[in-house]
Symmetry: C2
Subunit: 134 residues, 2 copies
DNA sequence: CAGTATCCCTCATGATACTG
DNA sequence: CAGTATCATGAGGGATACTG
């Protein structure tokens, strides 16, 4: 009789794995940029600084909660800067940091692959589905 | 009195937005590669074909459900090929397709950015948190 | 060996309402 | 204007058990 069951061994492997994912740089970057709203906000900010309300309008469909939450995360990671002007009414500007700007080429690489190969993916998908339907 | 409330307008914007996201090539690629297990499987397969059980061991921590589900999705998208050898016991090999291999440079670009800039991100995060804690 | 089927539960997101 | 707080839901993912 083993000291640990197969399930226990796998559970432990998963924990180690999660710990690895939490520290793996590439994984962390993927998690960050693949967030639903991040790429939209970054590309909106690529054109220059924007106010909170401008972003809300530009990225129509985002809730206040997610807009704030996403911007805070980007600010925390040093990718976006937040500037408060304590006028009345208050004014807050968001802007890409130099670090944030270095991310744009990576986003572009993703976009380029997608635009070049998405048709092949769609064709493969259609082919797969037609086989499955048969 | 407006025909549509602000909430209705936003709800409609979200729908249009979701439709846009569903077709946007770059978005779809991001969704695909940022899936929790995809990058692991792709890099495992980058070294050559692997059997189902090999992948399960190599990517320790993945459940059978997610392993199968992820492989099926990759196969459907034409990124991975699945070859069944109906011996007893059955044997199934997975392998990157040529299309799947074109994805590796993109993954490398992500990895390179991460390795070059992750320290800056960590520093920003620490700085942000120490401010917040104050 | 390589899956499929089922249940369950957490977490992320969104809607809504309120505030400095 | 630019948020914060609270609540609800639903989809993703895991554990477990079963199968060709």
């Amino acid at each position: 009789m083993p000291t640990r069951t197969a399930a226990e061994v796998r559970a432990e492997a998963r924990q180690e794995y999660d710990a690895y994912l939490a520290t793996c740089p590439a994984r962390r970057l993927l998690d960050r940029i693949s967030d639903k709203w991040v790429s939209l906000l970054l590309s909106a900010l690529a054109d220059g600084p924007m106010r909170y309300g401008d972003l809300a309008r530009r990225v129509a469909g985002v809730s206040q909660k997610m807009l704030t939450q996403t911007l805070r995360a980007l600010e925390r990671d040093g990718l976006v800067s937040r500037t408060v002007t304590p006028t009345v009414p208050i004014r807050v500007d968001y802007e890409l940091t130099p670090l944030g700007e270095t991310l744009l080429p990576v986003m572009r690489a993703v976009k380029d692959w997608a635009e070049q190969h998405i048709e092949a993916v769609d064709a493969a998908r259609e082919s797969y589905d037609s086989r499955a339907d048969a």
